[in-house]
């Protein structure tokens, strides 16, 4: 192995240029041109009109709420698993909580249809009890539920990974110095686990903003999010230029959000690599 063998990296450099850089460049070009290929800001102008702004804000809002819920539900799970003393039991629990990460995302979303649908289990139970049927599917609540359900493991795992690494001695030391368990948690454990929380937030928020499967399956046609807008513009309306602009805007928002989160913690990228 010597420096001459750097050439081994060159084919992939070419591959990256063609299949990673060029597509994004083209996305940019499409965003700033019209159907005739001339430079135009029309796509952005029409994006920043109330209908589309509402779609964007709605996406951000739902992603935000689902991130908050994932955090509220997920942190205790991660904490409780990390505190299980028996290693075997701890690992089993961890495995059970992260196993869904490996199951097809689409199927997990679909599985809620079998529960919430008009023909689904819940309505069947209600009917059996002679209670009125509920419209559980095809509303923002269902979309939110789908997001939380799908992304919860992505909140639990990074937080757990950090918690499990925190030296038990810190807590003991805090206790020794007179902190009660609650103070030990708020003053030691939680601050130390922030990097995991940041990773978790990023890993939930990003896919939640961009998803089009969840709103499309659980939200029905009415609850359009930015992901659906992009999908619709490219696959149905055939308006690639507008779709590109919407993609570019979403990408920018996500990258800015990540940058912002990165500010909080430099180790975040490392965690992502670790998780990846």
């Amino acid at each position: 192995m010597n420096k001459n063998m750097r050439v081994l990296g060159l084919p992939y450099v070419v591959w990256m240029l063609i299949f990673i850089c060029l597509p994004i460049l083209l996305l940019g070009v499409y965003s700033f041109t019209d159907n005739t290929g001339n430079f135009s800001l029309e796509n952005f102008k029409s994006f920043f009109t109330p209908i589309y702004i509402r779609i964007l804000l709605n996406s951000l809002y739902l992603a935000f709420i689902s991130t908050v819920i994932c955090f509220i539900l997920g942190y205790p799970v991660a904490y409780m698993i990390a505190k299980i003393p028996a290693e075997k039991k701890r690992n089993t629990f961890l495995l059970l909580f992260i196993l869904p990460m490996w199951m097809n995302f689409l199927l997990r979303t679909y599985s809620w249809m079998t529960l919430l649908g008009n023909n689904g289990l819940i309505n069947a139970l209600l009917q059996a009890l002679s209670l009125p049927q509920l419209n559980l599917l095809y509303n923002s609540g269902a979309v939110l539920l789908g997001m939380v359900y799908n992304f919860l493991p992505f909140m639990i795992y990074p937080i757990y990974s950090i918690l499990i690494k925190i030296d038990e001695n810190y807590i003991t030391a805090a206790g020794d110095l007179g902190a009660n368990p609650r103070q030990a948690f708020t003053k030691i454990t939680f601050p130390l686990s922030i990097p995991g929380v940041i990773t978790g937030i990023t890993m939930v928020f990003m896919p939640a903003v961009s998803t089009f499967v969840i709103p499309s399956l659980l939200g029905g046609g009415q609850n359009m999010l930015i992901g659906n807008l992009i999908e619709q513009q490219l696959m149905q309306a055939g308006n690639w230029h507008f779709g590109s602009a919407a993609s570019l805007i979403m990408m920018t928002i996500i990258l800015l959000a990540m940058q912002f989160m990165n500010r909080f913690d430099k180790t975040q990228q490392k965690n992502m690599e670790m998780l990846a």
């Binding site: 192995m1 063998m5 990296g9 597509p23 799970v77 679909y110």
Partner: protein, 262 residues
């Protein structure tokens, strides 16, 4: 008391995570097609599944793409990692940042931008474009798994091999590959699971009647629940679980015998 509370919470959360999947699985054996009622046990939906030519073709493409994408991206990713590893700090950083784009970019952006690329070069979308897309999003994960192993490797090992007469290629074959093998295996497993699981990028980069299982499920699910999809989902979930189980057992055994970590 605290322990009881903890267990109650954890089991409730597990119920939340698994109940929908279990219900779906149970429904796949339900003879009654409509409503939530139980109409008796049946394997009818599975039988129909195996007769369905669309599903067979989707299964074929899913597996084919996953295998090809895994092989190609594992080899390419490993070779590229070695190349990248040998570059100086600055060049390496640039390459890794670009490599990182498909990891952090939302799938939909990756999919859409590749779709635009294929249109730009007038490439008809189908099997080939989908495969290219899969390779493109798999290689970064292989590199992210292999490169750390290269960095952890003791440089003296390379020099020792050179010192003992090994030429550059022999060093790679006899020493480097053995040292980074756990990283390569992890990378390959990542590539396979990502590829077999992918929906969004495949959705935007395929065409000409080529669909994978995810795309098929999506198109069916948009029309509402159907017992065949329940059956198909059950099989897919069981396969992945089984696969993970095998991988887990394998790495556990390894850990025990050689202390090697995967």
């Amino acid at each position: 008391m605290k322990k009881v509370l903890r267990n109650v919470y954890l089991y409730l959360m597990l119920l939340f995570l698994y109940a929908p999947i279990l219900v779906l699985m149970v429904y796949s054996f339900n003879a009654s097609k409509s409503r939530g009622q139980w109409g008796g046990f049946t394997l009818e939906w599975y039988r129909r599944l195996f007769m369905d030519a669309n599903i067979q073709s989707a299964l074929y493409y899913t597996v084919m793409i996953a295998i090809l994408a895994t092989i190609i991206s594992t080899i390419a990713g490993t070779v590229s990692s070695i190349g990248i590893f040998l570059y100086g700090n600055k060049a390496q950083k640039v390459m890794l940042n670009v490599n990182y784009i498909p990891v952090i970019n939302p799938d939909i952006v990756t999919g859409v931008s590749m779709m635009i690329l294929f249109a730009f070069v007038s490439m008809r979308q189908g099997f080939a474009t989908m495969l290219i897309a899969h390779i493109t999003f798999c290689i970064p994960y292989v590199i992210l798994s292999v490169l750390p192993k290269l960095r952890q490797m003791d440089v003296n090992l390379i020099e020792a091999a050179m010192d003992l007469g090994a030429r550059p290629m022999q060093i790679i074959n006899k020493v480097v590959l053995a040292e980074i093998r756990p990283g390569i295996i992890t990378g390959a497993l990542f590539a396979f699971t990502l590829s077999i699981d992918d929906f969004v990028i495949s959705f935007f980069t395929t065409g000409s009647g080529v669909s994978n299982l995810s795309i098929y499920v999506y198109s069916m699910a948009k029309r509402g629940i159907s017992p065949e999809i329940n059956a198909l989902s059950t099989l897919m979930i069981l396969t992945v679980t089984l696969l993970l189980f095998i991988i887990n057992r394998r790495s556990n055994k390894k850990t025990k015998t050689t202390g090697e970590r995967i």
